[in-house]
Symmetry: C2
Subunit: 281 residues, 2 copies
């Protein structure tokens, strides 16, 4: 597998690199970003935190706006940010050009319906193909954490809950916590997965929590001034699902905070430390 280096910029003594590669899972070219802290040049192998971004984002939003490099450089934590969907002329998008479906809105699942099934397999890409690439190409070990924002918070929860043992740490910012029961999720799931809601359960953190084999502690931050809170995000459903089975969940409602990167930046250090502790940093 060939990685084409697109750019390399020094940041906090480490390197922010962007790569393009052909994805076998997604049948298209993909771009992802890696932040390598200064410790990556010291001969050891470091743990990796995967970050999944939200609707409309690319690999760039988190790296540019979250302010995560500073503490990652201090902790010795590699950060990896994939794109939010397959892309390119050969990849079908929303027929009306909507921003909440198709390009930039892969929802981190494996689509079963046409015309989406050939390309929209972001779950396999994020959980398997990308870590294989990263673990072959960079000085990292197999200690993995996963986090994300909004659609990517949903993605982080689902990737970890579907794959016990694969991640050692898990957190989310303002996740779409119960996608089977919100407009964004219903639109995406009904197209990518079809109309049978029973099949949606495998991609909904609340349903997955009920059957989780592993009790990986979850940290969730949610702004209480987030305009998407009530209709789309529904953290109370996640809290109820966790409580029902005794799954360790720390849900923090942050007063006055909204949905964007100023909110994420304000609390990213807490999340990095949550992951670092579980990743033995």
């Amino acid at each position: 597998m060939t990685l084409e280096l697109l750019s390399s910029q020094k940041s906090f003594g480490g390197w922010h690199n962007r790569y393009r590669h052909r994805s076998a899972s997604l049948n298209c070219d993909m771009v992802f970003a890696v932040y390598l802290p200064p410790q990556a040049e010291q001969g050891g192998r470091l743990p990796v935190l995967y970050w999944l971004s939200g609707l409309t984002c690319t690999d760039e939003n988190f790296m540019q706006k979250a302010g995560a490099h500073r503490l990652a450089a201090e902790l010795g934590l590699v950060l990896v940010a994939p794109d939010t969907s397959p892309r390119g002329a050969e990849v079908p998008g929303d027929p009306h050009g909507a921003w909440d479906f198709g390009h930039g809105a892969g929802f981190y699942l494996n689509a079963t319906e046409e015309p989406w099934a050939r390309h929209y397999r972001m779950h396999d890409y994020v959980v398997h193909e990308l870590p294989t690439l990263v673990e072959a190409g960079f000085p990292v070990n197999e200690r993995r954490g996963i986090s994300g924002h909004s659609m990517g918070g949903h993605g982080a929860l689902v990737c970890a809950l579907r794959n016990p043992g694969r991640y050692r740490s898990l957190s989310a910012f303002a996740p779409i916590a119960n996608p089977s029961n919100c407009p964004w999720g219903e639109k995406a799931f009904s197209r990518y997965l079809g109309g049978d809601r029973e099949r949606w359960r495998g991609w909904d953190a609340c349903a997955l929590l009920a059957e989780a084999e592993e009790r990986l502690p979850i940290l969730v931050d949610q702004g209480d001034a987030d305009g998407f809170l009530v209709e789309q995000l529904r953290p109370e459903a996640l809290q109820a699902a966790a409580a029902a089975v005794g799954h360790p969940l720390t849900l923090r409602l942050q007063p006055g905070y909204e949905h964007g990167y100023y909110f994420i930046a304000s609390f990213i250090d807490d999340h990095l430390r949550h992951h670092a502790a579980a990743l033995n940093l």
Copy 2:
């Protein structure tokens, strides 16, 4: 003077607000951003650091990408970021739509030539009109610092050197240090100020240093992998000008760093602490 609040987002316990107002200096509507740290709600009056951005930027780049809110919140420092030029349909721009002149490229000077002189008076806006607004509308005192990046680094140096006593602290990232002798500066100055190079001296930090009444210490960071270093930025000219008169300048060449916000973010804390010390924080 009326300030129209465009948005308000909580960040690190404080508030990032954007405002629109009619500028008397520039004869157009302008947008600027203010970061108010949590201490702004505690009854006192805080010092202000003015940040001037580079070519093509708006008030948003610094606030979103520099990672400055975290330490500003800790220090109790207000941050103010204006736009980089007058804007709008009534403001003439580059006749060929170039990105290095006109809209987004005001060079923080007062133009004397037509058709620029009516609107392009960013020096007066930044040094007088904007601080008057800020000091009337927010819980700040008259302790001012100024910093900026690239074209805005030039702006910060020139604003402080032309106005002794007005700023208590000064720094710059990768400033256009000697605009009279680089392509960006020559293009802008010849149009905004006309062809008489003698008149350019009042807007060139190297020339101003030679006659500065005040020895305000300057901190400058410059990446040595910055693609604009040799042709456009010329920090060695600034260093020579400072040395010639004994002006206190700390110029740090940062190995491996480029021109963008990953570079700025990596060293913004040092600059905020430089300003905080001089502003009695």
